[in-house]
Symmetry: C2
Amino acid sequence: MPAAIGTPLDELDTPALVVDVVGLERNIARMAEWGRRAGKGVRPHAKAHKTPLVARKQLDAGAVGICCSKLAEAEAMVQGGVDRVLVTSQVVGAPKIRRLVSLARHAEAMVVVDDPANAEELSEAAQAAGLRLGVIVEVDVGQNRCGTAPGAPAAALAERIARLPGLRFEGLQGYEGHLQHVYDAAERRAKCLEAMARLGDSREAVERAGLEVRVCTTAGTGTHEIAGECDWVTEVQPGSYIWMDADYLRVQGTPYRSALTVLAGVVSRQREGAAIVDAGQKSVSTDAGPAAVKGGRLTYAPMGDEHGRLTGDDLPALGARVELIPSHCDTTVNLHDELHVVRDGRLEAVWRIAGRGKVQ
Amino acid sequence: MPAAIGTPLDELDTPALVVDVVGLERNIARMAEWGRRAGKGVRPHAKAHKTPLVARKQLDAGAVGICCSKLAEAEAMVQGGVDRVLVTSQVVGAPKIRRLVSLARHAEAMVVVDDPANAEELSEAAQAAGLRLGVIVEVDVGQNRCGTAPGAPAAALAERIARLPGLRFEGLQGYEGHLQHVYDAAERRAKCLEAMARLGDSREAVERAGLEVRVCTTAGTGTHEIAGECDWVTEVQPGSYIWMDADYLRVQGTPYRSALTVLAGVVSRQREGAAIVDAGQKSVSTDAGPAAVKGGRLTYAPMGDEHGRLTGDDLPALGARVELIPSHCDTTVNLHDELHVVRDGRLEAVWRIAGRGKVQ
């Protein structure tokens, strides 16, 4: 049920995804300030919020554009008014390529590429539409997922792309997603610099081939400051810094604060030593472990699709509310249709998560 | 993008949630036939499909009503034309109770109760609306989640309810959710019969108090046949039998067949010995482990929000499709907005999952 603006937080219907908007604004401002200080572009990742208004706030704060995991996520952002999107995954097959070319008529839309046949298909479709599509070569810097091998193979693909009439070679992407949650600061820094060296080698190889690398995009919330030490990096792609899920809060040295919770209500107090809440796997994701309970006094464990168990001292009574801090904000946001935006303890707005479920 | 009816399965855009409709129809018919043979009602659980048309097919096949995990799920079912719903979780707090009473004007809506104060609130709201609400006392038969203790406490609550002017005591619910996925048939049977004994004791206690137990509802896909052996059980609540996720397929002695997959497309073939597909944690849930790959030849591992890795022999080429069998159908269905219904290898219909995200 849509709640009335002004409703106190603890009277919102449950479960509800809740934004501490002061925390959100502070996180956005802090990252923008870091970018200015470090002289790096910030291209925040929409996978964390999937909400055009949050993207616009990031652009207003100085972001150079918005990253999207999927084409459909980018479509949701552009329809929501975002004018600069980078699709950070490969767009494969004729139907999706046609959609991408259509999107590029309505916004600056770039895409990553790691395969020459895919590059040719993109070029043909763009050329047929009378467009020139900006593309970025994805380099595997150690995540072992998508991307060409670093160095010469990246340069070879860049050269092929530069010769294709429908494409404009823009630069390189190397995402070290596997390092974001390395808790120890020294270990994270060492591993990240190794990954960055692979990106730097690739940049050199491309430049030796006579091509300009305008964009060298990388890093996330956990590694952007380390990537920022490298000359060859032009911009970073942090997503989770706006929310800081429970797992990121364990990562040493990240100055961002928790701003996203799931408000849950106690629905059963029949068990000794436990309170059952109405938030289970369909309200708070478990792929990074169980959620934490705000305040730190209680422990939450999921109990199926729609229930969770709280344990600890001073358990809340039937009908009482608790705030859960998701262990993974991206997948938790993706479960909900709306963000309940709270300032000074009261509902200020309800924002539709337009990119929710946009996986195609 | 909405696909054209008649599109071959392997030309659907990816990732897409796909229903083998022949399998679905066979599973629904088989469960209905079991109910007739066993002389038990079948009240299928909507948490597995969240789709009113699937509920209607279950009712057409003879189901006595539809179970819903949450009030909002029940609202979605009733708005989709379902006329008999049982909310299998406690409905707590004045705003939700008002919604439940409103719902009861438009359908036969029952709810479970495990707390006397909650029962009084329900009674007052129903009475104020000039209604009498059917309620079922939830008994904890070993799941250790919601529900009164079995036996005397269940009877005491039933007696209190029977005296409340806005309520009509209908019977008992005892859900042994923790036993559904016990793979070994003998172990599952022994444990289920223990749980059923707690439900039987509770029924006797209520009847000794002079109340009629019209409904004694329990069990799921993994245990309905065992619960069916017990005289005191009047009906069962299976959900997953319509889809049979990868984990249920490991449960010995379940005759239902796999009818739900996530169609994924290969988006990168840059790694030796791996193909990367476009289905990650936002397309196929991981709370019960990784999805299986249809055909059994390949292995899938999630790689973040939007990617997964296939390994094995004869890896599919860039752009090729594979079908993933979710490890947990409930939470996977809840990620998607639409079911792509396929018969004889072609798209027959697209059904909106109206209950998706309805957690309140």
